[in-house]
Symmetry: D4
Subunit: 162 residues, 8 copies
């Protein structure tokens, strides 16, 4: 059953947002994925946000570019934490999406991650879910250990090559 909903403004965002799906799969977390636009399918977005908690969703990850209203509009219609992923690709290189997502008004926060950082959005969702799931917390600790080991290996590789 899906605990995380991944939603993006356009199917052209899938190459970036797919990193979130990979991470969720790696942690064995059920997810659903959809395309919806705060500007082109606003009613779907509203309905999606209203029904998410009842469907068992705990965290929503929303990626959008340009005047990226999707994460904020979702946050306006749900009490679930919404993680926003600003997408680059416009002439403004993602600063438009970053500002549109992170600068939410008082009362309705969006947990914003870096530009195009869909993988980190998924990890943040895992960290939230791990608060009440010790097995997941242990997987996360192991993930971090492996990540550190990879950095250490690349350090040794660099030293050997030089």
């Amino acid at each position: 059953m899906a605990q995380v909903a991944v939603i993006m403004g356009s199917d052209s965002d899938l190459p970036v947002m797919g990193k979130a799906l990979d991470v969720l799969a790696e942690f064995g977390i059920g997810y659903e994925v959809s395309v919806a636009s705060a500007h082109r399918t606003p009613d779907k977005v509203t309905e999606f946000a209203h029904s998410a908690a009842d469907r068992g969703i705990a965290v929503i990850i929303a990626g959008a570019g340009m005047a990226a209203a999707l994460p904020g509009v979702l946050a306006a219609h749900t009490l679930l934490p919404v993680i926003g992923v600003p997408l680059s690709g416009s002439a403004l290189g993602g600063t438009d999406a970053l500002y549109s997502i992170v600068q939410m008004p008082p009362g309705v926060p969006v947990a914003t991650v870096g530009i195009d950082a869909a993988g980190n959005a998924a990890l943040l969702a895992v960290q939230i879910l791990a608060l009440n799931n010790s097995a997941l917390a242990e997987k996360l600790a192991e993930y971090r250990r492996q990540m550190a080991a990879k950095v250490e290996q690349s350090s040794q590789k660099v030293q050997e090559e030089l």
Copy 2:
């Protein structure tokens, strides 16, 4: 009867958005004014946009700051032209609002004016309404003439003072 709806995200925006009301009043155009937030009162915004045309509104002017989703969300729910006014006042000096309003995705435009330029938003609404109202067009022409005359007067004043 109101032809123009002026809507803003917070009553603290009134000192800036009031310039739009002054201009509309000067041209004798009926207007309505409300406070609504795409993030704090999203249902009101949706309903507002859906009902605007039926209430006789022809143009919507929406001012918002920070992650300024209001103009775009209104535009998503109506076919009327929506004029967006990015408001300064945040740490980012209005670039956040500007990018959040102007960088709309394909399909749903917002007619964006300058930062805090509520008076210009109203003049743009007047220009749109004047397309089918020759009396209004003449008022607008007169407004421009007076504006030019004021510039000329200030030029003479500057020359006399020096």
Copy 3:
């Protein structure tokens, strides 16, 4: 007969500005197109703006890059609504054109759309014309429905592929 004039600062802008022409054609709206520069052919721009209303033009769409004076100078010489399209392509990625177009002084607004968003400029023109053309309004509503349907289809495609 042309209701919309599309004007651009250079013929190298045609690949971007052509999106506006496509949208206008799709809605069956007559348009004229020209190349003129506020800096290289200023007299043509002035004459163009002065004569536009008399030629039956209702809305002007102007695209320009860099120190993009074209939309503002047109607006200075006509009472018709002018929609400005900031074009990217310079070293500053279009922020120069955006600021040059949107930050108009009090009295002479330009309805600014996103960087390179010529299609949206045309849709905004359609929205303005539809205020007094119910057939056009219905076409616009249908356009929006199809746009929403495409988003929904891409959502289903993404779900099927995963």
Copy 4:
């Protein structure tokens, strides 16, 4: 018992970060507060992050300005979700802190809120805690209803005054 730890880089950040404390108190959530600097007291920060989960902390809120390393360094030493608040006040108006907090590398996310948006950081913490606390979820729903009611009241006030 404290469920949320609020940490800031300097006691001069308290006027802004205090908004987080107010929100947490309003929701009846236990919190602890401390001043620590990733650059001036790095060992304390490390120890703080390592021991947080054992002390019963579920969410860390960290505010910092300039080269705001605090949230990211905390996130590096804990599996708990870390919410970062970029603080303005430097010559760069908070863009330095925003970029330093939000642009985390793959593997270690920080949930970033708007510049100086400490109140929103606390609300995000409440949303995370409410995932497993239905009473808190209901308080949050009520908070949103009151927030919407205030917007509606300010709308009526604006209409009456005009």
Copy 5:
């Protein structure tokens, strides 16, 4: 007789643009001053530019803020060198004016000085006029010597105070 024309978009620009007048007066160069707006009095601007050379003007200094079209439009209508002074004061702190003035398209340059640097605009005009006026060149050399002497004096004052 005026050799330099100083023109500004609004009489509110006089406190800044007055620095240009002071410098010109200090060098004994005749100047004329006017207020004209590329957007509000475009015909005056065109006429001004067309007639400047015939009136004996050799250099035009134009200050403007926001979508600062004035220097570029003047340059489009004259072969005289036009010096542009971007003015701050808008929400964008003068970057809008700077980009609007300096980023001219190929064929029509504007000699741009720093934001609010009206005094430097006048000095640049003096340098241009001094190319064919050796007395003026000597005055300029003396001006530089005095400027250097003042820096040296302030250096000594700083050393004495410490």
Copy 6:
């Protein structure tokens, strides 16, 4: 004999700065060209600036990227007008060079043109030289007429193609 000196910080700047040489050649203006760096060959720059006027140079065009000190340092050592060309190519896309060139302190102006706008720098030099050379002024007028004619031709071409 050379009336204009073109100087650049690196021979890798030649593809951009070569546009200045082309324009000067087109107008039959003698020029000299050199590579010198305010940071790598500072003594050569100083000597170059000191001797320029005596060599018959009237205008200096200096192109530089990044921390582009060259135009300003030249201006510090000569009374001749110095035209600065900010070059892109760094990670900051030329904003570093633009700010480094245009934001000169009071007393020592640099006439700045757009990023990579070496052709415009040459045209500005031509405009300055034309103040005392009516044949050159006439060439410049003809250049402008041809430029306008080309815009008009491209306008007709666009209209024919559509």
Copy 7:
């Protein structure tokens, strides 16, 4: 005897640059201070840089605003490490000075500290001098300990007040 030279572009920079002097005095390091401008007194700057090492100077701290050429020009004329302090105060808030100082071309580095961070410039000088002065290194260690203690005290104060 002076080991560190502190130089600034204008005596108006003293309130900021004075923080460097305070830190140097606190560590008992001899310093000299002067005002010199890369643009207004270029010869003095050159001479200053050439003679610094012979005068016994080991590190140069240079503060400048706007097109801040001073640190880079000093670095061009000396082999001593030059620490650059970008100063705010211009319309661009110090980004102009930051870019002008930090973006040096290959071959001539400037050690850049934060905007207005003159105190940190002095500490960096101390760190460099401490490489060969163990007493100074111990003072620096003590300075860090006291700094950490102050942070800890402010943490306790914040906790007591709440």
Copy 8:
């Protein structure tokens, strides 16, 4: 024996950071190189910084991109001078790394060089080491002379080609 430690956040930074190694090798300075991340291997970074001085390291060069905490965290754990190299490659083009490195809080400076300027970081390290190594100082002087000679050669090449 290594006098300079070069450390980078990822082995993908080696193509840029390798320029530092080349320069150090050219000057015959012993160096060590490692990969470590302030966020992924924080304990290694701390240990590295704590032990650097005891290993004989005099200067640390640290390159990092995005929320580039590495140089600052190293600086927090050592009294050795730390030279930070902001790396481009993110959507923000290196401004994120630049701000994250240069804007250090009072008390803990990082000597920041230009974006991707790893070669300059090494030269700065050489300049620091040369303070107590006259042979190295002479090599540095020779390096500068050769650099100037290359600029002069490229100047002659440009002149010959034209």
